[in-house]
Amino acid sequence: MTDSGEVRDVTRRNFLRGLAGAAGAAMAIAALEDLAANPDQALASYEAQIALAAKQAGLSTTTGQLDILERMHQELARAIVKPASDRRWVMVIDLRKCVGCHACTIACVAENKLPPGVVYRPVLEEETGDFPNVKRQFIPRPCMQCDNPPCVPVCPVEATYKNEDGVVVVDYEQCIGCRACLAACPYGARTSDFGYTYIEDTIPKSEGLIVGREAADDYERAANYEYGKAWSREDEGKSPRGNARKCHFCLHRIKVGELPACVTTCIGRATMFGDAKDSDSLVSEMIAQPNVMRLKEEMGTEPRVYYLV
């Protein structure tokens, strides 16, 4: 086998890279434990270790700088050990980099196990101009996590509010499902869970003809972990069925040092996330750019999602 050496070589490289990745992950977990015990000392060590792991895994850029995903991870690690009032989560979306792949939408659906009809982060498509001067623009639209959210005061039972991190959340067990918040949102960023499941409601019912149907059904009914709690779809009448639902910047991921699902899956690194109160953070740099804008700023909602145009 003349190719075997080459194949072996590639396999070995991949193996080593994987090993480095696994080591990096292990170090990251250990570092997170350290962070909790001794934040200041552990932080410097953690940053160094994660940089090394990233380098070994081939995530460094050609200029020697970290991939922005790794940079954001580091910044996230710095931010989550701060008191909630000392950080300000913001999202920056570079529209020049968005290619409209919808990976963020799908990642969000998978992460939060969203049922049919519920979407947190659609990507809007806009085509302007006449041939040959045509422009196609993609605008991912998560919840804006407004600092002056119109959806909050209208809720009759205070089921939706800004949490200590400034993220607008929904208390599923408090929500009565009146959809007043849906009417109040100027961005259409909330959807209502009408109780559907993909398996039961979108696939034609033909018992036995679809391989893995039962397993998929079980998977779909198993709990998601929004807001750090298990929300099963086993019971027809239970929340989050019947509730208003929305993007929450993947708070359950942030809590354990992971970036929101839409950020990690963005193939063009168009979506950035971090603490705007950290002056060294990537998002702080980005929102200081002159080409930054926010949707419907004139409404005074003070969105925390910024767009680079």
Partner: protein, 381 residues
């Protein structure tokens, strides 16, 4: 004969409604056509209508018990009974719309006082108790007049508060340009009064006392009042439409165009303007028409249908305009659309509620002793 027909229609409507009630209570919201974008549908529109009808009827009752207008002496109890049967229809309609109706108690025990919706739940609860107490007091022969008058003042204020409040419920949403006008809460009590007057016109035309020599004059005065209130409503409508179109704010203009020429054109032009406004105005100003109680009563029903359509035309078009361009096609799924026509289940519940309110009103007329003190006539006799 007329009463028998109405009993029959009411019973059939209620039977039709049973399907909707069963579907909603035991299956859920899957068979509704409102969704995440057009998030309020027929049931919310009917809540606005029935609740407005109730507060309007209470306002009409004050002609008798508070302002003591001699012409309307003895009619207040019918207005109060009408308020009593229409309010539950409105509250059930909005209750059906809740994703978790079993949690309604939270609005009482854990309310958000700044929420208009919470204020309305509290307001309607107090208002329903005021109606009930008013009915009880007026049914007692020896209730001192000052007590009734005092309660009617409270009820009158509550009627304006709750009917204006539902206007504010929509109006506070700056996200919906077409709702976000200061006059909306001011318009709604007038709309409520108009529906209350039209309902009273129908009641007196259909069931007015045979021996009461004032009956024709009552019908005449209520006919004129209905026409005046329709003119006021039309003026408000003109003000809203012209201001919105003239300003050119895209979301506002789009919503108005949706109402005038979009998917709801028939509701606006045929039900609201044609059958609900122009035809009644013509019929009610015709000389001697007030001597034809059957036709006047039917005209009163048409006015009510027009106001029902008007409530829907306030709610649906505003929600049928995407908040952001491209939202309609960005992600597809059930209940993710900007086109809305009520489902059979939604119609079923609404028809059932109309039937239940009609039956309740007729049963009250026939079996509540204090409502039966005067003999009713039937227009066909």
């Amino acid at each position: 004969m007329l009463k028998k027909i109405l009993y029959g229609l009411g019973a059939v409507a209620l039977l039709l409604g049973l399907y909707g009630f069963y579907n909603r209570l035991f299956i859920g919201e899957r068979d509704v056509n409102y969704g995440s974008y057009v998030n309020w549908g027929l049931w919310v529109a009917m809540y606005l209508f029935f609740a407005g009808l109730s507060s309007g009827s209470y306002m009409v009752a004050t002609l008798d018990y508070l302002f003591e207008v001699p012409l309307f002496k003895g009619t207040g109890k019918y207005a109060l009974w009408a308020a009593m049967v229409t309010l539950p229809a409105g509250l059930v309609s909005i209750g059906m719309d809740l994703g978790h109706m079993e949690r309604i108690w939270k609005v009482y025990l854990q309310p958000n006082p700044s929420s208009l919706l919470a204020q309305m739940v509290w307001g309607y609860t107090i208002f329903s108790m005021v109606i009930l107490l008013s009915l009880w007091l007026v049914s007692q022969a020896n209730t001192p007049k000052p007590i009734i008058k005092g309660l009617m003042v409270v009820g009158f204020v509550m009627a304006i508060f709750v009917s204006g409040g539902v206007g504010a419920l929509l109006g506070v949403n700056a996200s919906r340009a077409v709702w976000h006008v200061g006059l909306l809460p001011a318009q709604f009590p007038i709309f409520s009064l108009a529906t209350g007057v039209a309902l009273m016109l129908t009641i007196l035309s259909f069931f007015g006392s045979a021996e009461d020599t004032r009956r024709l004059r009552q019908v005449r005065v209520l006919s004129i009042a209905t026409v005046v209130l329709l003119l006021v409503k039309t003026y408000f409508l003109w003000a809203d439409l012209s201001m919105s179109l003239y300003s050119g704010v895209p979301q506002n203009v789009d919503a108005i165009n949706e109402m005038l020429y979009g998917q709801y054109w028939w509701s606006f032009w045929i039900l609201q303007i044609g059958l609900g406004t122009i035809l009644p105005m013509i019929v009610l100003v015709l000389p001697n028409m007030y001597k034809q109680p059957l036709w006047v009563g039917i005209t009163g029903v048409l006015v009510l249908v027009g106001f029902g359509a008007a409530r829907a035309n306030i709610v649906f078009p505003a929600l049928a305009i995407p908040e952001l361009e491209g939202l309609a096609t960005a992600f597809t799924g059930p209940h993710l659309g900007f086109e809305y026509f009520p489902s059979f289940m939604e119609w079923s519940v609404t028809i059932g509620l109309v039937g239940a309110a009609t039956l309740a009103f007729l049963l009250g007329l026939d079996f509540l002793p204090f409502l039966g003190t005067q003999k009713h006539t039937e227009v066909t006799k």
